[in-house]
């Protein structure tokens, strides 16, 4: 019987899955921007070489990454939504929060720039022009750090994009890459972190139109998940990672990551949060 003869072989395949209670590894819930920009591919092998600890990255939006931490499904978090991170610490899920690095958000849009935002360097003015022109704008809509930053910028500009929901203001509820794919296909504006933008390949007519406003700062923080609340977490290894990434070796590794000669992330663990 074909199936009977094959079943043991099939089951063996199951058992032969990588035995991967490797000696030392941690699960890091982090953001799509850090993973998809290639930063982790550059930095984590250096950490593994220095310490013998493997970091397994689950890349999610910041909101979802914090949820994974709350459930105890990760040992440490590296995310970019300071307000949400401080709530996480205040609720006793982990911490303390340490800042790691920053880069910036940029407003991208089609070369034709129907809302004429390239003329301004003021992000609030640019958003108001997009809203006034009812030009298509792609929002992440996924509780990610970039989504939180976008909502904060609209609020600072004194505009409520939700009135244009389903028309010019389109929430895709997906990661940065899919949101950029959508913006490229619809010739729409979008807010993106610079790291994902630099690594993104399907730009079509999209280009950076507004950058450099101080309100576009994108700060990343790192936190350990509370071992009091979740006794199974690998607290020592998580602390080793946090110590390393905020220390001289980790900070130098971050500064050393470049795409086409351009530095993507700027270490700032030393400066006050």
């Amino acid at each position: 019987m074909v199936t009977r003869r094959w079943l043991p072989a099939l089951l063996l395949c199951g058992i032969a899955l990588p035995a991967w209670a490797q000696d030392r590894s941690i699960t890091l819930a982090s953001t799509t921007s850090t993973e998809q920009s290639g930063l982790f591919g550059h930095v984590l092998p250096i950490f593994a070489r220095d310490t013998g600890i493997t970091v397994r990255v689950v890349a999610l939006g910041t909101g979802q990454a914090l949820d994974v931490g709350r459930r105890g499904d990760a040992d440490a978090l590296l995310v970019h939504d300071q307000a949400a991170e401080e709530r996480f610490v205040a609720e006793g899920h982990g911490g303390p929060r340490r800042q790691v690095m920053y880069n910036d958000f940029v407003l991208v849009g089609p070369g034709t720039d129907p809302a004429h935002i390239a003329e301004t360097h003021d992000v609030a003015a640019a958003l108001l022009r997009i809203a006034a022109a009812r030009a298509p704008f792609i929002s992440r809509g996924d509780r990610s750090g970039t989504h939180a930053a976008e909502l904060r910028l609209w609020q600072q500009a004194g505009a409520d994009p939700v009135t244009g929901r389903g028309q010019w203001y389109r929430e895709v509820g997906q990661g940065m890459g899919p949101a950029l794919n959508t913006a490229a296909a619809q010739n729409a504006y979008a807010l993106t972190d610079r790291g994902t933008w630099l690594a993104f390949r399907n730009r079509q007519d999209l280009r950076i139109l507004v950058a450099g406003d101080t309100r576009l700062l994108n700060q990343y923080g790192v936190l350990a998940v509370s071992p009091q609340r979740h006794p199974h977490v690998k607290a020592a290894e998580a602390q080793a990672f946090i110590g390393w990434i905020t220390g001289p070796a980790g900070q130098a590794a971050i500064a050393g990551y470049r795409i086409h000669g351009e530095q993507l992330f700027f270490p700032n663990a030393g400066s006050p949060g």
Binding site: C13, A16, V58, R71, G72, G177, F200, H230
Partner: protein
């Protein structure tokens, strides 16, 4: 995606295969291991269940059949979410520590394809049972005794059922990305890698990975067909 992209996807696919890209081979190997393990588990549960439903008559049987048929359409992301909540450290099976491991992906795929194997094998074997029922009964074989005989006699038709299950398992992305986490070097499969490359806007590479996956699935199906033909010839 224009013609040029398709062309560069083919070129990229050829390059991936020709250089035997080690990362891709590891991802491909994991995909096959996970899907075959899920198929093995689903076959152990699904095929006997299908055979039993084909021969046994009991109250509520029709309801079970309808439920199985409906479960064939279980949305992968729903299955994934349920398994995520079960395996999460805060969930009932959290102590097993299986979330974000290949084992979690095996469970998710097995849950998705067990109803497919059970429902399809029930249908295949029911037709066979109608032919055989008289003969088997005349030997005094009750439904329970008939199950192994039916599974054996229906083995060639059941191969197609297994391939349908394997196809669904290896093509699936919604559930495995949730419970596996798409961790590089640990739980990245072909389908989650395709999703990731699409996110990065590298559409040619995503499509190239898709082409490789399709060729592999085609190869598995061809191999199964060859085995079946060889076995048929031997059986005369």
């Amino acid at each position: 995606m224009d013609v040029q992209d398709l062309g560069s996807a083919f070129v990229a696919a050829m390059a991936l295969v020709r250089h035997g890209d080690p990362d891709m081979l590891a991802i491909l190997g994991l995909s096959l291991r996970v899907s075959l393990a899920a198929l093995g588990i689903a076959a152990l549960v699904g095929l006997p269940l299908g055979a039993l439903l084909a021969v046994a008559r009991f109250p509520g049987r029709r309801a079970v059949v309808v439920a199985l048929n409906a479960l064939m359409g279980l949305p992968p992301v729903v299955a994934g979410l349920m398994i995520y909540l079960l395996l999460s450290r805060s969930g009932p099976l959290g102590a097993w520590g299986l979330l974000f491991t290949p084992q979690a992906m095996v469970i998710a795929q097995a849950v998705l394809i067990t109803p497919i194997l059970a429902a399809l094998s029930r249908q295949v074997l029911e037709a066979l049972w109608e032919e055989y029922a008289e003969t088997l009964r005349s030997f005094g074989a009750g439904p329970w005794r008939a199950v192994p005989t039916l599974l054996w006699d229906g083995r060639f038709a059941l191969l197609t059922v297994l391939l349908a299950g394997f196809g669904r398992a290896s093509a699936e992305v919604g559930a495995v990305i949730l419970v596996g986490g798409n961790i590089e070097g640990a739980t990245r499969t072909m389908t989650t890698a395709i999703a990731l490359e699409t996110s990065k806007g590298d559409l040619p590479l995503a499509l190239a990975l898709g082409l490789v996956l399709m060729v592999i699935v085609l190869g598995v199906n061809a191999l199964a067909q060859l085995l079946r033909d060889a076995a048929l010839r031997r059986a005369g």
